[in-house]
């Protein structure tokens, strides 16, 4: 069965890896990215000696910002958006 949540996260991870690849090559660093399920609006970074790579974790609340954004932009009208 297709798991849409996981598929979507995988797509995001693939994109972040692809976007950061040139800079990782240029700076000669290895990078791991993960989205821990823990519901926190936070991110962290550390060096993982076992993989000799930097690890970036982006916690799940950062992936669900649509509602707080909506509450701040609900006064936008279509005309406002034609900038």
């Amino acid at each position: 069965m297709c798991n849409n949540l996981n598929d979507n996260h995988k797509r995001m991870l693939d994109l972040l890896y692809a976007m950061s690849e040139p800079i990782c090559k240029e700076k000669n660093i290895r990078l791991g990215i993960s989205f821990p399920a823990e519901g926190k609006l936070n991110a962290c970074v550390y060096y993982d000696h076992s993989y000799s790579s930097y690890q970036i974790q982006i916690f799940s609340d950062c992936l669900h910002l649509f509602y707080p954004i909506e509450t701040m932009t609900d006064r936008f009208t279509k005309d406002d958006l034609l900038f």
Partner: protein, 243 residues
């Protein structure tokens, strides 16, 4: 866009989806910025972006400014390439640059406000914060954006002088639009370009690495250009005269 959207989404839902995507990218590249700037000590445990036990200072805030700045420049470069700007004529190029600048800056306004609400920490003494207050972050983002646009114009074949001029024109043109949006966004950010406290805090963050020799191992922004302070003072003088 990174997040799923459907063909039934309204224009505003699509826009909010776009904001979500830009915010996620900024969070990610901000963390990359900490790595690139040397802020991640290999012998240290996890460096949480928001950590109540983390002790704040202007030096710590300067690290956040460098990470924000680096992220902004990376993202501008990526966004301009994503829309294949280099094949467009000059008018279209200008229109797209303005649009991206507005979208990016509004996204960061939302991001900083959301995180500030979730992790409130507003002591009277700003030196004890781990992150600059949102208004200061937005202020220096304008400067970082200006550099990002200038880089892209340079890549488009403009001379350094013309690229800088072009970036100034674009940034000045979008500031009014951004201020209009702040007026209708439900955020308590009162952004005034020449608010003295905001600019003073920004200049303090720019100065700090050149006052603390032990921070020499980290990546920093260059010292503020000669004449920057004088220009700011001149702006204050004009504003005071007008008032």
């Amino acid at each position: 866009m990174i997040f799923e959207h459907s063909c039934n989404d309204t224009y505003r839902e699509e826009l909010n989806n776009l904001f979500s995507s830009i915010i996620l990218l900024h969070i990610f590249f901000h963390e990359c910025g900490h790595i690139i700037a040397g802020h991640v000590d290999k012998s240290q445990s996890l460096l949480y972006e928001y950590d109540a036990s983390r002790k704040g200072s202007f030096a710590v805030q300067e690290h956040e400014m460098v990470a924000d700045w680096w992220s902004t420049k990376q993202l501008f470069n990526l966004m301009f390439h994503a829309v294949n700007l280099f094949n467009e004529d000059n008018d279209e190029k200008l229109r797209i640059l303005k649009k991206i600048t507005i979208l990016y800056w509004l996204s960061l306004t939302l991001e900083f406000q959301i995180f500030d609400n979730k992790h409130p920490n507003h002591p009277s003494d700003l030196s004890s914060l781990t992150h600059p207050i949102p208004t200061v972050r937005l202020y220096y983002t304008i400067e970082a954006t200006r550099e990002g646009i200038s880089d892209v114009l340079l890549q488009s074949g403009l001379s350094l002088e013309n690229a800088d001029k072009g970036a100034d024109i674009i940034v000045n043109a979008v500031l009014d639009t951004i201020n209009s949006f702040l007026g209708i966004m439900n955020v308590p950010i009162d952004f005034k370009k020449f608010d003295r406290d905001v600019v003073e805090c920004y200049m303090k963050l720019r100065d700090i690495p050149y006052e603390i020799p032990r921070d020499a191992q980290y990546l920093h922004l260059a010292p503020l250009p000669d004449g920057y302070r004088e220009s700011i003072e001149e702006c204050y003088r004009i504003i005071n005269e007008q008032e």
